[in-house]
Symmetry: C2
């Protein structure tokens, strides 16, 4: 099975594929596979369904990067840290029909996808080895998907708190310690007042292009009301979340020529939720993949965004999404 290895310098974890590693030659000019209904695994093969929620099917990844064969146990390897890649890796098949993009699902179908994430998160939280659960989507080749055709997303439940999650938690906590207010709540207030970076909003959610956007048309969806946890946070507001997500994805599809994109549910770590209740505020990062990250970004973690987020928001707001 795969290994989890930790970079000794910055503490970043990598899942290293070992047994099922791609051979070196497989990296030379890999091709994307675009499937039609007849060649689609999710349409033709009998799926081994592990959970189902209003038409959304949850299956094990066919190429799992994490499993439960060996327990998680950190070991030294000289100066390095290594362990078995314990965890859960699932695919969320969002719809029975062969529809490629979430933008083309109904509000009800998108709502069911978010509810399926919440149900799986609730499930994996019961596994005491799990520290973090990420639900995310890769849409299109540039977003890291190599098999295109049937709308789906993924869930990874891992036994460590990833570095970038720690950075978010730590930043939000510093702000809360100083102000006694949630950083994200203040951000939402300021964006509602300023208006320039708002892409869409409804009763429960706001979609904004962040002030220090890393990528052109990067958009965050935040609940207007404070809530640290996605799972309980979407109770009663899942329809509004589906509405704003469909709205945003249609703006991307129509305005930016159906770009590749990723989205990631940014939730608090699993353990000790009381630590995050006041100072963390769940949200979703959505990122079209229109540019390439170059050496400067890779070398410093300092990004270059070739369009101001105010201009990106204005452009997205003006896309005509109703026929």
């Amino acid at each position: 099975m795969s290994q989890l290895r930790k970079d000794p310098i910055v503490g970043r974890w990598t899942i290293i594929a070992t047994e099922r590693a791609r051979r070196p030659a497989a990296f030379v000019d890999p091709q994307a596979i675009i499937t039609d209904k007849k060649s689609c695994t999710y349409c033709q093969e009998p799926l081994k369904i592990i959970d189902e929620h209003e038409g959304v099917k949850v299956i094990h990844s066919s190429n799992p990067l994490l499993d439960q064969v060996h327990p998680f146990e950190r070991k030294a390897h000289g100066i390095y840290d290594v362990c078995y890649s314990y965890g859960h890796h699932e695919v969320i098949v969002e719809v029975a029909d062969h529809i490629a993009g979430m933008a083309d699902l109904s509000i009800g179908q998108i709502k069911a996808v978010f509810e399926a994430y919440a149900a799986r998160m609730e499930m994996h939280r019961k596994d005491h080895a799990i520290e973090y659960i990420l639900a995310y989507k890769n849409y299109g080749v540039a977003a890291g998907s190599r098999n295109i055709g049937h709308s789906r997303s993924q869930i990874m439940a891992v036994p460590v708190v990833p570095m970038r999650v720690k950075d978010k938690i730590s930043g939000a906590k510093k702000y809360f310690d100083y102000h006694d207010r949630c950083l994200f709540c203040d951000l939402v207030s300021q964006e509602l007042e300023n208006k320039q970076r708002i892409v869409a909003q409804n009763d429960h959610f706001i979609a904004i292009t962040p002030f220090a956007s890393r990528f052109p048309f990067e958009t965050w969806i935040l609940p207007k009301k404070h809530h640290s946890d996605f799972v309980t946070g979407i109770e009663g507001s899942a329809t509004d979340l589906a509405v704003i997500m469909k709205d945003l994805l249609l703006r991307f599809k129509i305005g930016l020529n159906d770009p590749a994109y990723n989205y990631m549910i940014q939730n608090a770590p699993v353990k000790h939720p009381i630590l995050y209740k006041e100072n963390y505020h769940w949200h979703i990062e959505v990122m079209p993949r229109l540019t390439r990250v170059a050496g400067f970004e890779r070398g410093t973690g300092f990004y270059i965004c070739p369009i101001p987020p105010e201009m990106a928001a204005e452009f997205l707001r003006e896309v005509e999404i109703h026929a």
Copy 2:
């Protein structure tokens, strides 16, 4: 001019292009420009040379993201930090001839490129506003270069210490505080002993695929002897550095079908070098761009590497680079 904006959550900086921003429509299906000698800016136009070193020419970026028009001054914008994008942004035109890749330059030419980086770094250090200087290369479309044909690299001198640099410094310092030894020196020793991840070596340098590689065929070049600073560190060893870099880039070119790649000189921050003298060890990260970063990596900073670094190193070692 551009702005520097800081993400209020994790403290990451972004350069936001404002005046010269690309219009939204320009993000739809952008094309790479592949130049021949006749259409090459670096061959045909009279270059405004600001520094020259054995055939290597330093010019201002034609599309500078940083300049010296306004002083660096952090300002609040509600909860956000914003400032003018003060700094230096230069292009290193590596060779007079229209040669696309550094792999095809001579050892002497590559040596001159590294010496030119050192000379420019020494120059920019005299600017008291500068906190960090990155020399880096984007080769090929997938590496973020859109104008292909004439071998060049870039220098950015910025007025803040970037987040990822802080992470490295902090990790190396924790190790030094505990062991009273340099983390990178111990890493070099362990890799020399283990041998599995060595791609190449000579008297002064070792090239290894890191234990927790983020990307397939990611390779780091480290000086075998401790040195915290690239500028003074390459004195007397620049030829060996050129030899190992050319060796590595030829292995990429021949073994991986001339892939896009980035490299970044990972040096210590500019100010208070005494703080880094014992615990930091300069090095170069070199990364072929063969896969796409997907949602999981973006959402967590936790990477998935589809080939073990031991297999990648073995593959690169076995590439026949001498005709």
